[in-house]
């Protein structure tokens, strides 16, 4: 706590960043409001018959605007071998978002991110340590194998299995079960397991096992919005590497890889302004 307070004026004095708020703060507020949305939706629907906003991150509708999680939709198409027009339209929006901005769903919306960040904030308050290094317990490639394995398993079993392994969707379903029937579904154990994994190794599930993250990362591998690295301004302090929840090294250009989810933690941590978000134009 003390050290972070010491750092704060430094940054302002240097005047490197013209922003008022840290990306971390904005992101946490976004996560919070996304979580509030999926808490409010089932309550409004079942108690007050207010159906303007329905569902959660497996499928969400705001008025006539539909979203369907791309992975669930893809699995439904693969396992049933049938194409359903409205499903494709619902999947289009998240896919376009991932094409342009990358895995931003993971970092800015996903309720698991919200819980993990909340845990991190509590841990930070208790231990007064600013960074908890993520580390690399496994090779990153496992991420892609997890996606392929999961898709194949779904096709073998003939059921979109991701729905039981999808913590973002599970949180929403558990909330609905709690609101409507006053019970919780057993598969919610998964959410607890994922959070326990997060406590052992930071964002373990998100980094290695989440098939939705892998799909969004794959779609967003040629994304427009990236964190760019200015080697002239960098003093190679290595703080950004410690700050990254995915254990990526911005100094090695790993923020341009498919793994980066544009959370902006590295930008917040950088004292010299060597890192910033940059929109790459279509011509480039």
């Amino acid at each position: 706590m003390k050290s972070s307070r010491q750092n704060q004026p430094d940054r302002k004095k240097e005047g490197v960043k013209g922003r008022g708020m840290r990306y971390g703060t904005i992101r946490f507020l976004t996560l919070l409001s996304a979580f509030c949305l999926i808490v409010a939706a089932p309550i409004l629907n079942t108690r007050y018959q207010f159906d303007f906003i329905q569902g959660w991150f497996q499928s969400l509708s705001i008025g006539n605007l539909w979203f369907v999680s791309p992975l669930e939709g893809l699995e439904s198409i693969l396992t049933s071998r049938m194409i359903y027009g409205p499903l494709l339209v619902g999947m289009a929006m998240p896919v376009v978002l991932a094409l342009l901005l990358g895995r931003v769903f993971c970092a800015w919306i996903c309720p698991i991110s919200f819980f993990s960040d909340l845990l991190d904030r509590i841990i930070r308050l208790v231990t007064r340590r600013r960074y908890r290094r993520a580390g690399d317990p496994l090779p990153r490639r496992i991420f892609w194998f997890a996606l392929v394995f999961e898709l194949l398993l779904a096709m073998v079993l003939g059921t979109p299995i991701f729905v039981f392994l999808s913590p973002p969707g599970l949180v929403g379903r558990e909330l609905m079960m709690a609101v409507m029937f006053g019970t919780l579904a057993v598969e919610g154990v998964m959410v607890i397991a994922v959070l326990l994994m997060h406590l052992v190794s930071k964002r373990f599930f998100c980094r290695y096992l989440c098939p939705l993250g892998a799909l969004l990362g794959f779609i967003g591998s040629k994304r427009r919005l990236k964190v760019t690295y200015d080697s002239d301004a960098c003093i190679e302090c290595g703080i950004c590497k410690n700050a990254c929840p995915l254990s990526l090294d911005p100094g090695k250009g790993e923020t341009s890889s498919a793994y980066c989810w544009n959370c902006g933690e590295c930008i917040d941590s950088c004292k010299t302004g060597a890192l910033r978000f940059k929109w790459r134009n279509f011509s480039a």
Partner: protein, 205 residues
């Protein structure tokens, strides 16, 4: 290196603990077949459902139908249903379907097809003439099933004051089952909905 290996060991221990916990819950599930459709008499799919053959494949278990159902007729299955876990079911003896068709409108995957009320085929009601008080001629003229039917005179008619289901017009909503005052020892009523359409082969069109 040493540190990361320790992390992996810790992690595997965590996963094993979680699986153990899961196994505890799932013990009862193992007894049942994990690949058998849960649909049976009076236990039906929501309106417009595709056949059971592809239902678990198409449904993404988003639960939107359950969320939108104003009567809470629809309940998602729990993990004990195996492959079918999370899919929506209606127990018509508990809460039947009033055919408001809201679930059909919100289904994002087309698992619940957009059909009109009279085209719904959740099953077909069959009267147990050995259990029905009117048919047994016990001096009672109960016609609750006839009275509650949303397609009175089309799907159910009275033949000399005794109810008769018109199979081709019955939508299988289960209102008659819910209304029937006779409950047998096996939990069935004197009129029951049999989900005969759920097990039709899929038409690839």
């Amino acid at each position: 290196m040493d540190r990361s290996r320790r992390q992996v060991v810790k992690l595997m221990a965590g996963v094993l603990a979680a699986l153990g916990l899961e196994g505890l819950f799932a013990r009862r599930a193992r007894a049942k077949s994990l690949f058998k459709s849960p649909v049976h008499t009076n236990y039906l799919r929501p309106p417009g459902a595709v056949p059971e053959e592809i239902f678990p494949a198409k449904c993404i278990r988003c639960g939107r139908c359950a969320e939108v159902c104003p009567y809470k007729s629809i309940r998602p299955l729990d993990l004990q249903a195996g492959v079918y876990a999370g899919t929506p079911m209606i127990d018509v003896t508990d809460v039947p379907c009033w055919l408001c068709m809201k679930c059909v409108e919100v289904c994002p995957t087309g698992t619940l097809r957009r059909v009109e009320q009279k085209e719904v085929r959740m099953g077909v009601a069959i009267i147990d003439k050995h259990a029905c008080m009117t048919w047994k001629g016990a001096g009672l003229l109960c016609r609750t099933c006839y009275n509650v039917c949303p397609f009175k005179e089309t799907a159910i008619k009275l033949d000399e004051l005794r109810p008769v289901v018109v199979s081709d017009a019955c939508v299988g909503c289960g209102l008659c089952v819910h209304g029937c005052p006779v409950t047998l020892e096996n939990g069935k009523k004197a009129i029951n909905v049999e989900p005969i359409y759920a097990f039709e082969p899929v038409k690839w069109s």
